[in-house]
């Protein structure tokens, strides 16, 4: 077990506003028609058609069935994915259409674990789900089939669930891997795209040849006639001018044909090269929303518990002391001053404790130091840490408040783990903000072997990170060093 990725489903939804289309709607229709061949949009579409043709032609080899088809499909899956990425990047740079990337390939790592009884199967099922894997409980006999987790990790989870796995060997690992590659839906959708794209690109080339080259040729036909072609075509110079309207028509019509073809291409790319059907995306969002709701409910319950057991209890005790003191002052009998002084002193001490507890609680909800930005807050955190922490921050632009808060608590949790469990002598805390992504990384020189356990700190952290479509990556071989990386979208 070296690297585990707990969440990789997240991808950003990008909304593109087609400004070019919008600006071109303005102006009179005639002017619109005449200007069409000279707009930026036409030229970028022309460029896109020319450049995307060789890409489509090269990608087409991934579609041609060959001998040993299965192996070929498996091997060509990453290649066709790469071509898909190339097509998306062309679309982004030339057409201004940003198509979000589909989810990365994830090997299924399917394991079959037989358990002594159904209860153990359910425990293992829950542990695997909690660790970010997928699991299915067998129906006919007690056991679980797990996916997405490495065998060693499943063996660990099984041990905590009270099941000993004799040999957690994957079932036909290579065949599994090949099978998953062959079935990779993203690759198949990319293949479908290129199967449709190649004829589309050929039609585009034909339009370019006929519209632009043919148009220019017809428009300049008298010149060609005068220079060389009079012997071939015959006729008079005057009759050669009859080709001029045809040339003009071709040149004016070509941009519209190009627009149509490009729109078709955009539509194909959006449907076949993007992150999949809206239904898939909606399911991912629903899951992350459910996690967010659960997370905030648990957080509120925790705060309520802290208030109830802590501050409120302290205040009640304080009121009782003051009540007793008031009663002692309010008697006809001689006033017992030392006793009252003791009660008031106790109450005073209780009030100070309540204030300190409230401050800690408030800091747990929202650290005030975050108001000055994440870098300052992390500096405070690093200073407060029990062991020396080297801090590297590069946050040129502030992420949204929710992301800053999650990043801060992630760093706090990770540093606390280092201090508590790792036996490390020093740690490095790194927070880097690149466009669209905030990365928080904590590295230590401790003994390693860190892994999330259900209801543990790392697991809670992973859950919280997933609520905003972020991901956490734990690299902690036994013997160390440990690197935990949390990646969060800048805005959520």
């Amino acid at each position: 077990m070296r690297t585990r990725t707990l969440a990789a489903d997240g991808h950003n939804t990008v909304i593109t506003y087609d400004n070019q289309t919008m600006t071109e709607q303005a102006g009179s229709p005639l002017r619109h028609v005449i200007e069409a061949p000279f707009t930026r949009r036409t030229w970028s579409e022309l460029g896109h058609a020319l450049i995307s043709f060789p890409v489509a032609a090269s990608a087409f080899v991934c579609l041609v069935p060959m001998l040993h088809n299965g192996i070929f499909w498996a091997v060509s899956a990453p290649v066709v994915r790469w071509f898909g990425a190339a097509a998306r990047s062309l679309s982004r740079t030339l057409l201004g259409e940003d198509i979000p990337a589909p989810p990365p390939f994830r090997p299924p790592l399917r394991l079959k674990v037989a358990t002594p009884d159904a209860a153990a199967a359910v425990r293992l099922f829950e542990a695997v789900q909690a660790a970010g894997g997928k699991a299915r409980v067998w129906e006919t006999k007690p056991g679980v089939t797990t996916r997405l987790l490495p065998p060693a990790r499943v063996a660990e989870l099984a041990a905590t669930a009270g099941v000993t796995v004799p040999s957690p060997a994957p079932q036909g690992e290579f065949a599994e891997w090949m099978g998953a590659r062959v079935l990779d839906p993203v690759a198949w959708r990319a293949r479908a795209y290129f199967a449709l794209k190649l004829p589309l690109a050929l039609v585009s080339l034909a339009v370019i040849a006929a519209g632009w080259l043919g148009g220019v040729f017809c428009l300049t036909f008298p010149v060609w006639w005068t220079l060389a072609l009079s012997t071939v075509f015959g006729g008079s110079l005057a009759s050669s001018f009859t080709f001029l309207p045809l040339g003009a028509t071709l040149l004016l019509a070509a941009p519209w044909a190009m627009h149509g073809l490009t729109e078709t291409d955009r539509w194909l790319m959006r449907s076949l090269l993007g992150p999949g059907s809206p239904a898939t995306r909606i399911r991912v969002l629903e899951e992350s929303r459910a996690r967010a709701v659960d997370d905030s409910a648990a957080r509120l319950r925790g705060i309520e518990r802290d208030l109830h057991d802590g501050t409120q209890a302290q205040l009640v005790a304080l009121a009782m002391k003051l009540g007793l003191a008031m009663e002692k002052l309010d008697t006809a009998a001689p006033v017992d001053l030392p006793r009252i002084a003791q009660l008031v002193g106790d109450a005073h001490r209780g009030a100070l404790e309540a204030i300190a507890d409230l401050r800690t609680l408030a800091r747990g909800i929202h650290p005030p130091v975050l108001d000055n930005g994440l870098a300052d807050a992390l500096a405070t955190l690093a200073n407060r840490s029990a062991l020396p922490v080297e801090l590297i921050t590069d946050i040129p632009e502030r992420p949204s408040a929710a992301i800053e808060t999650i990043a801060y608590f992630s760093a706090a949790e990770l540093l606390a783990n280092v201090a508590k469990h790792s036996g490390a002598r020093r740690a490095t805390l790194e927070a880097v903000h690149v466009p669209g992504l905030l990365r928080v990384r904590v590295t230590d020189d401790g003994r390693g072997g860190a892994h999330p356990v259900p209801h543990g700190g790392l697991h809670g952290l992973a859950e919280r990170v997933r609520t905003v479509d972020g991901r956490i990556d734990i690299d902690s071989p036994v013997g160390g060093p440990t690197t935990v990386t949390v990646e969060l979208p800048s805005h959520a």
Binding site: R305, H308, D309, Q312, A313, Q314, V316, A317, A319, M320, K321, L322, G323, L324, M326, E327, G350
Partner: protein, 215 residues
Amino acid sequence: MRIVIAEDAAVIRAGLTEILTDRGHEIVAAVGDAAALLAAVAAHAPDVAIIDVRMPPDHTDEGLRAAIAIRRTHPGVGILVFSQYVETRYAADLLRMHSGGVGYLLKDRVANVAEFADAIARVAAGGTALDPEVVTGLLTATRHAAALDALTPREHDVLALMAEGRSNSAIADRFAVSERAVEKHISNIFSKLGLPPSDSDHRRVLAVLAFLDER
């Protein structure tokens, strides 16, 4: 009086112990959870058990369930339940046991030492001590809002005090009226609500609650 305290917050446990010892009561046991409470009651047979509703392990209604168990096994032990929130369901559950010597206070009330001591005394004597807020909660939670609407504001106040477990003379003192006037109000209330008149303090409370709680 011999008292057992069950409260999971150590500060409040200490505070209660201090107040009650100051009043000359004997705290025979101060425990932090329901199981220890049941053991302490069985061991010491106290006059009163003061019980927090929310206790470990689940922090829901462990104290209340323990209170009901004590009422079954040791009917002679007065029970004063207290919590930080008004939970009319808890109060109704407790009072449905149809016997005296029960109370339900909010924790804030405990800070008023005299009132708290008075409530303990009433519970120990087999009476009732309900927090005014609990009573308000019970009154508004009732399904007989229409019948209650027929009461005049003063009758409503009198009913609330009756539900708290106050005697006629205490009610008369509170409103600075004569006991006869209070009796008049009470018989009006009973007739408006269709309840048989009764003398005993707790039977009155039970009658009121039975009416409020009839479901």
